[in-house]
């Protein structure tokens, strides 16, 4: 009589799966996007510092950052705390359908933890007021309002935007006495960042070699594997989450990673631009701050990715397309240029001929790949910087350094 729980989840039934698989095979998507098109990202800032609503198509996430003073952990007495809370229930009706300890909530939580906490994007040492006594505890509440696929990207964008938007009150500690200043007394202080990570999600199907970016719920549920890559604005990899059953070519993952790095950079630029617009509005006067009322209807308070990044996006789009085509050949053009510049700088120390073939497979069989590529990559890696990364990301190591070295001066990230 009543609705089956599967009915709430598009893409779980067999006909739907077949439909999506077939569509992907023909390079078609249900909403008319191309495989490398993302949905529009819309940011709305609340009246309070650290309140941001993000919508990615129909996926909507509200993030709120709060802070209070607390005691630090004994293992890290001079660092503040960053706490991430994901809330999937409520208006999104996600807990309704499934058991409480849901796979989805666990993956989302761990992704956010790794993207923001393990990558140490917020400078926690700056949040220390008095070592071993008082530190700021930053708490991020991520409320999922609506789930229409790609919660990962929506939540990471929302979390990053909220953390960047957030300001904490100034505080002084003298004679064992804490004094917190109000906004009128002293201006609030924004958080300090070491880097800005954002995730990009890809879906891979057995029926087609072409991964699709920014999946909807239908596509996500029907996918054979979902790959989530977190890149920061320096195009360094922060998190790689690969699961599922589709056998995936290394080249496909590399292609995803390269596009994800570009996309992540564009998103961070967009967030920066949106923040500066919000600040301008705040400076103009309090009457202009509309807060989240701006969510209702079509208002100027919604800051859309397409609108803000209109020109830049088009410029970006071109190289992305180019890359996608070029990727089918063993050596990608932009990489070669970067490699050249790097070679000049590192000629003396390494005699290893730097070519992208060391990490980009030239043959179809990727089975043989790991051993030679790892060996050469570790050699090349030692020449530059001694950076040990998590095991899952070995294949990406050389490429990451290519990017970070040629980009803005790379910050050392643990």
């Amino acid at each position: 009589m009543f609705m089956n729980s599967n009915l709430f989840e598009p893409g779980k039934s067999k006909p739907e799966r077949n439909f999506v698989q077939l569509a992907v095979k023909q390079n078609q998507r249900f909403d008319g996007r191309r495989s490398n098109d993302c949905r529009d990202v819309v940011l709305t800032f609340g009246a309070d510092w650290g309140t941001v609503a993000v919508s990615l198509g129909d996926t909507k996430v509200l993030t709120h950052v709060t802070c209070d003073l607390g005691a630090p952990t004994t293992s890290r007495p001079n660092e503040g705390k960053l706490q991430l809370n994901v809330n999937l229930g409520g208006v999104a009706f996600l807990d309704e359908v499934q058991t409480t300890h849901d796979q989805r909530s666990l993956t989302l939580n761990s992704l956010l933890e790794r993207t923001f906490r393990s990558s140490r994007c917020v400078d926690l040492e700056s949040l220390c007021v008095a070592a071993e006594q008082h530190v700021w505890c930053i708490r991020v509440d991520i409320n999922v309002l609506n789930h229409d696929g790609n919660l990962y990207d929506a939540s990471t964008i929302a979390t990053l935007a909220a953390l960047m938007h957030f300001r904490r009150p100034d505080v002084t500690f003298a004679d064992d006495e804490l004094r917190i200043y109000t906004e009128k007394e002293r201006e609030f202080i924004p958080l300090l960042f070491l880097h800005y990570p954002v995730s990009v999600t890809y879906c891979i199907y057995k029926s087609s070699g072409q991964p699709i970016v920014d999946p909807t719920l239908l596509e996500e549920n029907a996918a054979d594997s979902v790959i989530v890559l977190s890149f920061n604005s320096y195009q360094e990899l922060c998190t790689l989450n690969a699961g599922g059953t589709a056998p995936t070519n290394v080249r496909t993952i590399m292609q995803c990673a390269r596009n994800a790095a570009t996309r992540a950079k564009a998103i961070v630029d967009f967030i920066r631009k949106a923040l500066s617009m919000d600040e301008e509005r705040r400076l103009q006067g309090s009457r202009l701050i509309q807060g989240l009322v701006g969510l209702i209807g079509e208002t100027a308070h919604k800051l859309s990715f397409r609108k803000l990044m209109g020109q830049q996006n088009q410029e970006l789009q071109a190289p992305i397309n180019e890359k996608m085509e070029v990727d089918n050949k063993p050596i990608a053009k932009p990489e070669v240029e970067e490699v050249k510049t790097k070679e000049e700088s590192s000629k003396q120390e390494t005699d290893i001929p730097m070519d992208s073939s060391s990490w980009l497979p030239q043959d179809e069989d990727s089975q043989e790949l790991p051993t030679p590529s790892e060996a050469s990559s570790s050699k090349a890696g030692k020449g530059k910087q001694n950076r040990s990364k998590s095991k899952g990301t070995k294949k990406k190591l050389p490429k990451k350094q290519d990017h970070s070295d040629s980009e803005e001066e790379a910050k050392q990230v643990i």
């Binding site: 609705m3 609340g46 009246a47 409520g90 999104a92 229409d148 807060g291 969510l295 209807g297």
Partner: protein, 237 residues
Amino acid sequence: MNLPAKVDVEKDKLRQMHCEFNPLSRCDGSVMYSQGATVVIAAVLGPIEVKTQNLSIDGSYLECNYRPKAGLPQVKERIREAAVRDVLELALLAEAHPRSKMSVQIQELEDRGSIDACAVNSACLAMLIGGLPLKSSFAAVHCIINEQGDYILDPDQSETLHQRASFTFAFDSVEGNLLLVQTKGAFKIAQFNDIECLCRAASADIFQFYRSQIAKYHGRSEAIAEKKKDESSSMET
């Protein structure tokens, strides 16, 4: 924080109301509702399967959850949730769907005063747009007595900092019965009666807002809705 205060609105008027229907895709009906700078989002799902422990053979079970913007619901939020549930239980036509559950979820987006009233109003709009059976629609109005002894209808958060007493009334649309009274602070019975009248008058504005918004959503112009209303009122008299 500089707040957009209730400067341009008189003390005996409601702040401006806005709403957007069905912003969410996974529920039967949802509404984003704002009064002034206070914004809430409400979603309904029903009738759906019910757990055996809550199953009732002579009416549907009502589940009502209120979620704050940050953190888990505390006592304050639980009280608000209970208030909304009480009003909904009175207005819901539970007999229509026995052995089932109606789920109402309310998420606070921004609290700038009168959040109790906003939660109730958004729940009503969500029920209406979701097509869940109601005996009547309902509206809640918040009013305070400030330090000077003035009545302020639908106050902004900045105005509630110094208040003597605060009231929340909910009325149904058919007979204008009181569905909910919440009071806090010290006041005289005459003041209570005054404020009840004030809130009752203001609730008419909210019902008018419901009517025009739903007419607009279903593709009718406001003029037709007005006309219908005139007709129905002339028929009553």
